[in-house]
C-alpha cells in the first residue's frame, strides 16, 4: 500500500486510472448486457443483402435468382415468397437444402452453413413475402407440461401425425420412394418448425389452428414416449407388423422349416 500511496501523484497515475476504469466498465457491461442474438431481423437491410448474396450462390439455381421458383425443366424448385424464415431455418439447418441433386425428397445431410448465414438467408427469404418467423424457445420447449397436456399431445399426435410418422414416431414409407422421417431424438425446435412450415410432402399445421400450446404438448408427448424403455424384449424398431412379420417369417418359420427338414432327412448310411 505504501508503494501505491507514494506514487499517487505520478504523471502516469491519471492515465492508468482511466484505463482501469474503462476496463471495469467494459467487464461490467459484458456481464449485464444481453448476449447478441442471431436472428432473422427483417428490418436489417445489411443482413438481407448478405442473405441475397448467399441465396444467389446456394439456392438460386433451383429457386430462381429472386426466389420466384422454377416449375418447368429438369431442375425445379418451388417459389419461396411467403415460406418465411422458419422454413429456411428448418430446411438449411437440417442439411435438406440446398439439395445435392433433384429427387423425390431432400434427404438430411450435414449442414455447411453457420447460424449467421442461415439467419441471413432467412431474413432474405422473409423479405420476399410474409411467412412464419422462427419461434422463440418458450414456444417449443416442452417444459412444465402436466400429465393432462401430455395426454392431449398424445391424442393430437395420433390424430394428426401418426398416419405418416407411425404410432411411435418411428417414421414410415410414402409412395414413389418418399418417406416420413423418424421423430426419435430430434431437436424440439426442428419438430416445431416442421409442423409450422410443412416441409416437402408434409402438410402445414399453422399456429392459428394447431396452437403453440398444442404443438408443445405434441413435442412433450414424443419426449415422454421415447423416454419410456421398451420393456417387451426386442422392440424391432417399433415398426409394428412390418418388422415383426419379417422376424416371424424369416427367423420363426425359417427355424421351423429347418427342424422339419432335419426330422425328415435321411441320415448317413454305412456304405
Amino acid at each position: 500500500m505504501r508503494l501505491l500511496s507514494s506514487r499517487r501523484r505520478h504523471p502516469a497515475a491519471k492515465a492508468l486510472l482511466l484505463v482501469f476504469g474503462l476496463f471495469m466498465m467494459g467487464a461490467l457491461y459484458s456481464v449485464i448486457a444481453p448476449p447478441a442474438q442471431v436472428s432473422a431481423d427483417t428490418g436489417n437491410s445489411q443482413q438481407i443483402a448478405e442473405g441475397k448474396a448467399l441465396f444467389a450462390v446456394g439456392c438460386a439455381s433451383c429457386h430462381g435468382l429472386n426466389g420466384e421458383g422454377q416449375t418447368s425443366g429438369v431442375i425445379q424448385g418451388p417459389p419461396l415468397a411467403g415460406v418465411g424464415a422458419a422454413a429456411v431455418d428448418f430446411q438449411v439447418s437440417t442439411g435438406r437444402m440446398p439439395m445435392a441433386k433433384p429427387g423425390e425428397q431432400a434427404p438430411v445431410k450435414p449442414n455447411r452453413y453457420s447460424e449467421e448465414e442461415i439467419a441471413a438467408l432467412g431474413a432474405y427469404v422473409a423479405s420476399l413475402g410474409p411467412g412464419p418467423a422462427i419461434p422463440e424457445p418458450a414456444e417449443y420447449e416442452p417444459a412444465n407440461l402436466s400429465a393432462e397436456d401430455l395426454a392431449r399431445g398424445g391424442e393430437l399426435f395420433r390424430t394428426n401425425c401418426s398416419a405418416c410418422h407411425n404410432f411411435e414416431g418411428a417414421g414410415g414409407a410414402l409412395p414413389n420412394g418418399k418417406y416420413a422421417p423418424p421423430l426419435i431424438g430430434l431437436d424440439h425446435k426442428r419438430i416445431y418448425l416442421a409442423m409450422l412450415t410443412g416441409p416437402q410432402q408434409m402438410p402445414v399445421f399453422s399456429d392459428e389452428v394447431l396452437t403453440p400450446e398444442d404443438k408443445r404438448a405434441i413435442i412433450g408427448y414424443l419426449d415422454s414416449l421415447h423416454e419410456q424403455p421398451a420393456s417387451g424384449g426386442f422392440a424391432l424398431g417399433g415398426l409394428g407388423p412390418v418388422s415383426e412379420g419379417l422376424w416371424a417369417w424369416i427367423i420363426g418359420l425359417g427355424s421351423l422349416i429347418f427342424f422339419a427338414m432335419w426330422i425328415a432327412a435321411k441320415g448317413v448310411k454305412a456304405k
Partner: protein, 357 residues
Amino acid sequence: MSEDTSHGQPGSEVALVDEERYPVPDPGLEEHLPRLTDVDQKAADRATRQVATFFGLVPILSIGFVVVYFAVPGDAWVDFGPLRANSRNLLLGLTFGLALLFLGIGAVHWARKLMDDREMIDYRHSAASSDDDKNYMLTELDKVVDESKITRRKIIGRTLLAALATILLPMIVGLADLGPWPTKKKRAETIERTIWAPGVRVVQDVTFKPIKPEDIEIGQLINAEPANLQELHGSEFQIEKAKAAVIVVRMDPNTITIPPSREGWQIGGILCYSKICTHVGCPISLWEQQTHHLLCPCHQSTFDLGDAGKVVFGPAARPLPQLPITTDAEGYIVAQRDFLVPVGPSFFERDSRHDSP
C-alpha cells in the same frame, strides 16, 4: 398278420403288375441300407450318449425354471444392446423353452440314429362293415323301434317332429338382435346420414377449436369434426364420429381442378372431404401436400383431393365424398348441409349414381 411278412423286402411280390390300372409297375420300397450306428458299436454308443445328454439336460433346466421362479426378483431387468426385458421372464422363457427344445431334439435324434429304421407298408382296408354286422344293426334297430311303440302310437312321433322343428324358431328370431332391419327408412336414419347439418361448424379434432379460412395456409391439413359431436357421449359419440370425421385441406386454387357443380362448395381452395375411405372405411389422413394425394394406410387406395377426390390408385371404387362448406356470420367455416352421398364403404342397397360430380 400274414400280409406283413413281405413288407420291407425290396423288389418283392408287393409290386403290382396290372397293365390297365397300373401301367407303371410299383417299384416297391427303397433298398434298406444300414446306418453307421447299425454297424459300428462305437457310433451307436456315441449316439446313445448324445440322446441321454439331451434328455439329461431337461430335468436340470426344469429345476432351473423352478429356482428362477422363486429366486429371481420380479423387478430386475436385463439391458443388453437392443434387448431390454424383465430378468425373470427372460430366464423363465429360456429355461422352459430350452427344456422343451432339448426334449424334442433328444427324441428326434434317438429316432434317427438308434430306433429301427426299416420302412413298412400298412394297407388300407375297406371302410364298409361286413354284411353280418349290417344285418345285426338293422334287426337291432327294428327291435328298438318296435319297443318304443312309436309305430302304434303315431301321435308321439308327429308331436316330436313338430317340437324339434319349432325349437329352432327362437334361435332364428334371436338373430334379429344382431342389428336393425336395414329398411329404407332405417338406412336413411343411420348409414346414409351423418350429424353434419346446415351451419354446423367445422372444428379441429381433439381440441374442438373452430377454424377461420384465413387461419389456414396453402398446404395445410386439418383433421376435423362437426362441432355438434361434442354434445354426444359414449357409443353414440363413437358411431357419429366414425361417419362424420372430415379432413380440411387448402390448396393453391390455380393448381387444382374444381368441377363447375362444386364451385360453391369451397372457400378459395379450402376443400372439405370425408375422412372415411370408400373402400372398407379406414380413416385416412396421409396427405401429400404437393401431389394433393390422400393415401389410405389399409389398402393403399389413393384419392386426388385436387380433383374432386377421384380414385387414382388402389381398390376403392368411388371418389371420396366432399362436404360443401361456407363461412358463418362470425367468419368460421361451417357446413352448407350434410354429405350428398353416404360416406364410407359400399353396402348392398347403396345408390351410387351421384358419387361423381
